[in-house]
Every structure is written in structure tokens, then in C-alpha cells.
Subunit: 139 residues, 2 copies
């Protein structure tokens, strides 16, 4: 045996390492905006002009639906998010951002996507290659 590790495994292990390392970045950003990390996630997932059913949010976050209820309660009480009845199915409620929520979301994305100095270690060509590869991963 001792088959060489497929590059996919190596790549994934590195990505996992990066995820663990990256986790520490969210709390400070969240604190600056007076949000919790979980609330940042919700805000991130509600794209402007694309109302999201609560159930879908629970599925994307891989958490219980009742958890989403609480998260949205707090965001709604701060005037960042709205619950609206779905036209198609009166059981479901869809979420969208208030203008205030929209502004805060922009701020969040700004803070989150300020590239860390680490990336400067890569050459321009490597940066472009990374962009191309990640784009394919996410498509």
C-alpha cells in the first residue's frame, strides 16, 4: 500500500487548517459591528433583494430551526432584518434586510474581505491562479 496522498486530500487538509486559523478573525470583526459571529453569518446569507425562507437559513447553517427563530428575533429587534409572510405558502416566513441591515451588511463584508497581509507572500501570478481555482471550487 502506502499509495501517495492524492493532491485533493492535501489541498483539503490545508484548507481545513486555514479555516481553523481563520475562525479567530470573526469575533473581533463581529464585536466591532456589535454583532455576534452567528449574527454575522445570518446577515451574510441574506443577500439584498433575495428574501430567504427561515427554513433554508437553518439548513444552510446546519442548525435547528428553533435556533434561527432566536437569531432572527434578535436581529429583527435591532431593526436589521424583517420577517415577511411568503406569498406562496403561508407557513413560511421569508427574511430580508432593512435599509439599516443592508448598510451593516456592507460594512461587514468590507471588514471581512480586507485581505490579510499573508496574501502578499504570494506572487501576482500565484494570486491570479488562486482566484481562478477558488472560483471553480465555488461555482
Amino acid at each position: 500500500m502506502s499509495r501517495p496522498t492524492p493532491p485533493a486530500c492535501d489541498a483539503w487538509q490545508l484548507l481545513v487548517q486555514l479555516f481553523f486559523a481563520q475562525r479567530a478573525n470573526l469575533p473581533p470583526v463581529a464585536a466591532e459591528l456589535e454583532l455576534s459571529p452567528a449574527q454575522c453569518h445570518v446577515l451574510h446569507l441574506i443577500e439584498p433583494g433575495r428574501p430567504v425562507p427561515m427554513g433554508q437559513l437553518a439548513e444552510t447553517l446546519a442548525c435547528d430551526a428553533s435556533n434561527v427563530t432566536g437569531l432572527v428575533d434578535r436581529l429583527e429587534s435591532r431593526g436589521l432584518v424583517r420577517r415577511r409572510p411568503s406569498a406562496a405558502d403561508r407557513r413560511v416566513k421569508v427574511l430580508d434586510l432593512t435599509p439599516k441591515g443592508l448598510r451593516l451588511r456592507e460594512l461587514l463584508l468590507d471588514r471581512m474581505t480586507a485581505p490579510p497581509a499573508t496574501l502578499q507572500k504570494l506572487s501576482a501570478a500565484e494570486q491570479r491562479a488562486l482566484v481562478r481555482i477558488l472560483a471553480r471550487l465555488l461555482e
Copy 2:
């Protein structure tokens, strides 16, 4: 104005997106091992044979020291982790894994680093390029 976005920004935005998407993977894995996501992080950070001071753990996790106390309390009560006095400084306590904790950590890494099907969308050359680039990012 309207300078083209530097590739570093694009790359980082994609990584952030991947990071948000990835977050949903941890809870199921954690549940399978009867751990919480936070406990997985701690277990991940205590490398075998490399005792970690509690304070360093708090810094790496970007959280309050008292939070680490609670996390370690629960891990220790399950016999996964040990608190030991530091020889150099009697204020600090260093953490290391029990044999049971070591086994669980191996299991955790196995589960976490099983590459998702998504990676198969990349060609072998792209996978190798990704490995090379990520390795430089993390070094």
C-alpha cells in the same frame, strides 16, 4: 479611479466565501464525535506531545481566558485532556491529551480532512497548484 481589483482582494473574498460555506460542515462532524464545535477547536489545537498553556489557547481562539477554563473543564471531565502545572511558571497550566483524547483527535482529523466532492471539479494540475499556494500561505 476604478482601478481594477487587485487579485489579492479577489482571492481573499473567495476564501471568505469558502470559509462561510465551510462553517456548516463542523457541527455534523462534531455531533458524530459527541463534541461541540468549540471543543473540536480545542482538541485540534492541542497537538500530541506539544503541551499548550491555557492562555495561549485563549489567544489563538481569540476568546476570553475564562471561556477556556470552562471548555477545558468539560474536556477534562470527559478524560480527554489533562491540566498540568508548568515547570517554569507555577501560574500557568499546560494542557495535553490523554490517550483517549489522542484517539478522538485522530478521529476528528480524519472526518474533517475527508475532502468534499467539490474538489474533484479541479483537474489534477489545479489541485497541485492549490496545494502549493496554500502551503505558502500557511507557512
